[in-house]
Amino acid sequence: MDRTVRYVGSPVPKKDSMALVTGKPVYTDDIAPADCLVVKVLRSPYAHALIDEIHTETAGKVPGIVSILTWKDVPKKRFTMAGQTYPEPSPYDRLILDRRVRFVGDAVAIVAGETEEAVDKALKLIKVNYQVLTPVLDFRTAKDNEILVHPEDTWQSLCPVGADNRRNLVASGVDSHGDVDAVLAGCDYVIEETYHTKANQQAMMETFRTFTTMDPYGRLVVTASTQVPFHVRRIIAHALDIPKAKVRVIKPRIGGGFGAKQTVVAEVYPAIVTWLTGRPAKIIYSRYESQIASSPRHEMELKVRLGADKNGIIKAIDLYTLSNSGAFGEHGPTTVGLSGHKSIPLYAKAEAFRFAYDVVYTNRMSAGAYRGYGATQGLFAVESAVNELADRLHMDPVKLRELNMVREGDVMPAYYGETAGSCALDRCMARAKEMMDWDKKFPARDMGNGKVRAVGVAMSMQGSAISGVDVGSVTLKLNDDGFYSLMIGAADMGTGCDTTLAQIAADCLCCDLDNIIVHGVDTDVSPYDSGSYASSTAYLTGGAVVKTCDTMIKKIMEKGAEYLGASMEEVDFDGKRVYCLDGSREISLRDIGNQAMCNNGLALEATESNTSPVSPPPFMVGMAEVEVDMETGKTELLDYVAVVDCGTPLNPNIARVQTEGGLSQGIGMAMYEDVTYSAQGRVLEDSFMQYKIPTRQDVGTIRVEFESSYEKTGPFGAKSIGEVVINTPSPAIASAVAHATGVYVRELPITPEKIYKGMVEHS
């Protein structure tokens, strides 16, 4: 049979949309049993300390308190909370509760009680004597510091990532191609600058939350707001030191993740309470906890050397990244890689590159995965350096990129030697230039009222799944009356994959979208899928849908042929019926589904897994127009134009909103959001009062278009969209500000204060 293209590329509403917009109780806290124990965590007031004594007796006498756990009560096997494929590159450096606390907010005790009031009261009555230690707070001094964040002998690194706890190193390494020093020495122009990106909070509207119950078989059921249900199963088993067979993880509707929920931030606390007490338990993180004890973006300092000849041909890129993993190593070894591997390949034709990195422990909140995953940081540095090169050359930065950008068919040495098999970056640039009316607006226009308007540009790439690692899977079942069940292993966290994957299935099976019901993740039911991260779902799990449908069609034809008394070769399937090619007989899908429930030995079910040896990058171009008040440095974002090559957009509405949302987060990172610390190591932006994510008045106008390439290895030509879209605002806005003021802000966020100070120094 031939595939139709009826739903792929169509802006159908999400299957769960009406439940969401009418406020149905579908999220974790809405469906938690009423008799759940309330679980909260006592947190350290010190950045680095040892617990000498901890007294819980008085607290335990508060009426309604059921359990108080300290470091003495938890398993002594270290694990990582990073939701990654086993063996995780992130070090095994955690216990559920440890005697050594490593950041302000680190877990000291777990309290479970029948009411929130009782738990709050008990938290205040726990007496802790701390031996306060000197913390390592500056990540520039962490490597080989005499103070060790993880001196313990039980610390373990499972993968060869250059980790060494005796040196405060989470990872260290170097990758190169050609002789970068020699090529740079021969360049007419070398830009050498240092860029600094900060920790950012994902700030998904639904904070971290989980509830846990015991099932009739004595197993622990974890219902969690997570992107990685199967990794949660493994991590809970590791943390509690119990068999994985004892754990079941269910993912309900999720109120946003953006990478935050690729780390098992909160799940272990109610899990150990339920495992030890047998009683249902839940934890709902406050926004305060989500700001001080979660998994924000890795702060990075990036030193770039970028060399070009006098004609603007980029010859070499040398990048050193120092990444701050904070108190624990979650996602430390892997995020740093993307800072080089997903920035340098945009200029694949350069003769040489070098990418070196160190990832260090400090006594700050542990970092984690945040949309863009290191690429965002690397692209701020490399794209800013390219913009500075253009200004030094007195060349239009669009032209400089047209001369140097990666194009379809180019080999990308810094991207594991992969070839850009699908790449419309050149078309993205041309279209963005038109949309922005770039030639008229570049570089800046004095508006005559003390304000200057200026434009800036940046490019971005990401990947589509982790090549050679990630697994995407679905199961398809044919039911009576001929409707299908699609059991999805990837986590829809608001991203709409339950719908887009069904769109793919409907086109493969030539049926109505409504003929496919979807089932989100339940580790007891769904086939194994790594989870929704690394921009993997559309590409990888989408590919699994295509494979699974092919297998299902064969089974339907086999069964249909049997019922028709024909051979497989004599029949075909058109989505509604199996029919003999000679036109003599046919049987409907409905009848096959119904008949197969009687006297049948062939299960009309199919499961396929998908993995990929390549990770085809989506590409995009972003252009910003800002207006700067030359007296005060106050900067307003007027317009943001983005053109994206995500291969085939499976659902243009969802792809567009993904892009607009990612850009908005990128704008927040560029202009507003910062995580800073007191001298003692306490996070200052501990609520939405201080941590300002953009409102609808802060984002200007965002305009998005698509310039599609066709990725042959992807389902219906699709690549990923989720992460590539967050990367351009920081470098594009920084360059626009530089064009207005002459000031290059190299440390995010780009605030009026920094611009003003720069203008004062400049003049």
Partner: protein, 155 residues
């Protein structure tokens, strides 16, 4: 203390603490559409109507609602569907966690402003944060919803 109020058209009488928040009170009474996104009156997810005016239920004592009429999305399901269909039509509900609070405030805006400009809409809804959509899709949806209503009235 005991309070009496009308919750989505039904009389409710209950004991509350002096510090019980309206948000926790309405959720206890089954109105799960009302969400807590922060504790600091910044996100707008907990918006309900108190005697027809939008308030942040995370920052309103349940005691203050004594004798009042409280409306959550559960009480205006037809409206929720009507506005929600436009959000869904743009893919602009995304994770959906902020949708109930946003829709409640759109309902309040409709009552307060006639034919609001885009700037007025942005200003009125500035307190409704969303981390998924970048707001553009929401603005398209709300614009389409208001225009369609205008067309219905004119036609």
């Amino acid at each position: 203390m005991e309070i009496q109020l009308t919750l989505n058209g039904k009389a409710v009488k209950d004991q509350v603490g002096a510090d019980t928040l309206l948000l926790d009170f309405v959720r206890k009474h089954g109105c799960y559409s009302v969400k807590r996104g922060c504790e600091t009156s910044n996100c707008g997810l907990c918006t309900v109507l108190l005697d027809g005016k939008p308030v942040l239920s995370c920052s309103t004592l349940a005691a203050r609602a004594d004798g009042c009429s409280v409306t959550t999305l559960e009480g205006v399901q037809e409206k929720a569907e009507a506005i929600g269909r436009f959000l869904a039509g743009e893919g602009a509900e995304q994770c959906g966690f902020c949708s109930p609070g946003l829709i409640m405030n759109v309902i309040a805006m409709e009552q307060e402003l006639s034919e609001p400009s885009e700037e007025e809409i942005r200003e009125y809804l500035a307190g409704n944060l969303c981390r998924c959509t970048g707001y553009m899709g929401q603005m398209r949806a709300i614009g389409n919803y208001l225009n369609r209503k205008g067309e219905e009235q004119n036609g």
